[in-house]
């Protein structure tokens, strides 16, 4: 294993997490540390000081975590490449955990500051504004923009199906960071096409995320409704574009992994590019969204004792609110109203689906007795997973349609 490669693989996610944590209060000026503040107090020296000391704390935590890992790695306490990469993942997870603890602490400090300054009374607690046509005009890129994704998936699956007979009886299904094969599976329709199924589920999830961006709450500045609606549109459209490009890259990447594992059966050296490219694209885009978000933060919106619904400044729990998708208070993006059962479905549905995919790894298709074409083997669990996926897809589409109507 190339030492350099190992370092890059460990360092890039770690740095991304560190940067994301540090930039969180700078990305959401309207709600520093998940607390809403009056529009004219957003650059208050006390808030600035909090942001700065928070950034320092996170940086210090990152340096300490990195040092511990470097020490453990160089003293040889942890040996073997796989264990060392685990160490890198461990450092990243530790940083996330510590970062969240620090965030919660600063969230408390911010609440105290708000109370001391008596800002709650000076907030816009009275006026709410909305644009009636906001969600009807095309805010996000439509579903047709995902056709290229489907074309790529279909092409990958098509090639795999055509070459099925010429593939060896065992195929590599697992690689380590080095690109060497660590696990093999017996050739079945499930194992050959499992990456295509994951591609498909990913596309469905991305279509769904794109759709939630369109329908999530658009709360406007009651004093500048037009400008704030325009800024909101611009922001959502570029986020939608990001999702489109990012998911397409991921799909291409998975197609490439499939091609290598089926037809080349080795992966030396290419692993770094394969795993880093989407991360780098995401990083660049984040910077862009970050800037746009700052531009948007000049607008005010209603904040009638919303603070108490944001648990720890991060989790939104408000049974009174009909909204399912709301904008995050810290950082960039959207989150769900955890007080609504449908929101839980949205959050855990995709995770369960992905977890079920390995079940498809059994022989779910058998040749028809006539020898022409295939049919499902209903005695396999995987078959039912596939059928369930189809049902969920159809149900999801119907649900989306209902959401638009009354």
């Amino acid at each position: 294993m190339n030492n350099m490669t190992q370092w890059i693989i460990n360092l890039v996610p770690f740095l991304l997490v560190a940067v994301a944590l540090i930039s969180t209060p700078y990305a959401s000026l309207r709600t520093p540390f998940g607390v809403s503040v009056p529009a004219d107090e957003r650059h208050h020296p006390a808030i600035r000081a909090l942001r700065k000391s928070y950034a320092l704390m996170i940086s210090a935590a990152a340096v300490v975590a990195a040092l511990i890992v470097a020490l453990l790695g160089s003293t040889g306490v942890v040996e073997g490449t796989n264990k060392q990469s685990l160490l890198g993942v461990g450092a990243t997870l530790l940083l996330m955990l510590v970062g969240f603890a620090i965030f919660v602490w600063y969230h408390r400090r911010m609440l105290t500051l708000k109370e001391q300054e008596g800002w709650q009374k000076r907030m816009n607690n009275r006026y709410a504004a909305a644009q009636l046509s906001f969600h009807n005009s095309p805010v996000t890129y439509g579903i047709v923009w995902f056709i290229p994704h489907l074309v790529v998936i279909a092409a990958c699956a098509f090639i795999a199906v055509l070459s099925y007979d010429s593939l060896p009886d065992v195929i590599p299904t697992h690689f380590d960071w080095d690109g060497t094969v660590t696990d093999w599976s017996e050739k079945t329709w499930g194992s050959v096409l499992s990456l295509n199924i994951i591609q498909l589920i990913m596309t469905v999830i991305m279509v769904f995320v794109n759709w939630t961006i369109r329908w999530s709450r658009a709360s406007l500045d009651p004093n500048k409704p037009e400008q704030s609606a325009q800024a909101e549109r611009k922001y959502r459209r570029s986020t939608s574009l990001f999702i489109l490009v990012f998911s397409f890259l991921l799909i291409l990447m998975m197609g490439w992994v499939q091609a290598i594992s089926l037809y080349e059966r080795r992966m030396e050296g290419s692993m770094v590019i394969v795993s880093m490219l989407p991360l780098i694209v995401a990083g660049v885009w984040m910077v862009w969204l970050f800037r746009m978000n700052r531009e948007r933060s000049q607008f005010d919106r209603i904040s009638r004792d919303q603070d108490r619904h944001w648990k720890l400044g991060t989790l939104y729990w408000n049974p009174e609110d009909p909204a399912i998708f709301v904008e995050k208070r810290s950082g960039i993006g959207w989150t769900i109203n955890f007080a609504r059962p449908s929101a839980w479905l949205v959050l855990f549905g995709p995770i369960i689906l992905i977890a079920l995919v390995p079940l498809i790894d059994s022989n779910i298709m058998v040749r028809k007795s006539t020898g022409l074409g295939w049919r499902f083997d209903y005695t396999q669990v995987g078959t039912w997973v596939v059928l369930a996926l189809i049902v969920i897809l159809v149900a999801g589409v119907l649900l989306m349609r209902r959401f638009r109507g009354r």
């Binding site: 709410a128 504004a129 909305a130 644009q131 046509s133 709450r217 638009r404 109507g405 009354r406």
Partner: protein
């Protein structure tokens, strides 16, 4: 079209919503056949209860300003607005009566009262015809 709700006003929220949408339709800012947001989405955008929006839509539907389709949801009445028939005039007179009473009680003259009525009417009419007010 934008709506703006005052959550601390004495005027109920559903009335504010009804009034603003009706005004939008009267001035042509909302065109016949134009789709209105779903109850859930408008309630979410304004951060108000679903029933409040539902009530406003029901009132607008009953007075003939919007239609509610099963598939398309709420749309601005496209088959011609309800006419100002005798039944409507009767309702209008009934609604104006307490206002006239209050003005009279405060010692307002008929001319002043009519001036105010004329001003609102002409403002909306000018907006509808795209003239400066």
């Amino acid at each position: 079209m934008f709506v703006r709700i005052d959550l601390e006003s004495d005027v109920p929220i559903y009335t504010q919503l009804t009034n603003q949408i009706m005004e939008g339709i009267a001035t042509g800012e909302l065109q016949p056949g134009e789709a209105l947001p779903s109850v859930r989405s408008l309630a979410a955008d304004l951060g108000i209860n679903l029933h409040t929006v539902n009530k406003a839509y029901t009132i607008l539907k009953d007075s003939g300003f919007i239609q509610i389709h099963r598939q398309k949801g709420a749309v601005v009445q496209s088959g011609g607005m309800p006419p100002a028939d005798d039944a409507y005039k009767e309702r209008l007179a009934e609604a104006l009566r307490p206002m006239a009473a209050e003005s009279l009680g405060r010692g307002m003259s008929l001319e002043d009262w009519l001036t105010i009525c004329r001003a609102s009417f002409e403002q909306l009419k000018a907006k509808r015809e795209g003239r400066p007010i």
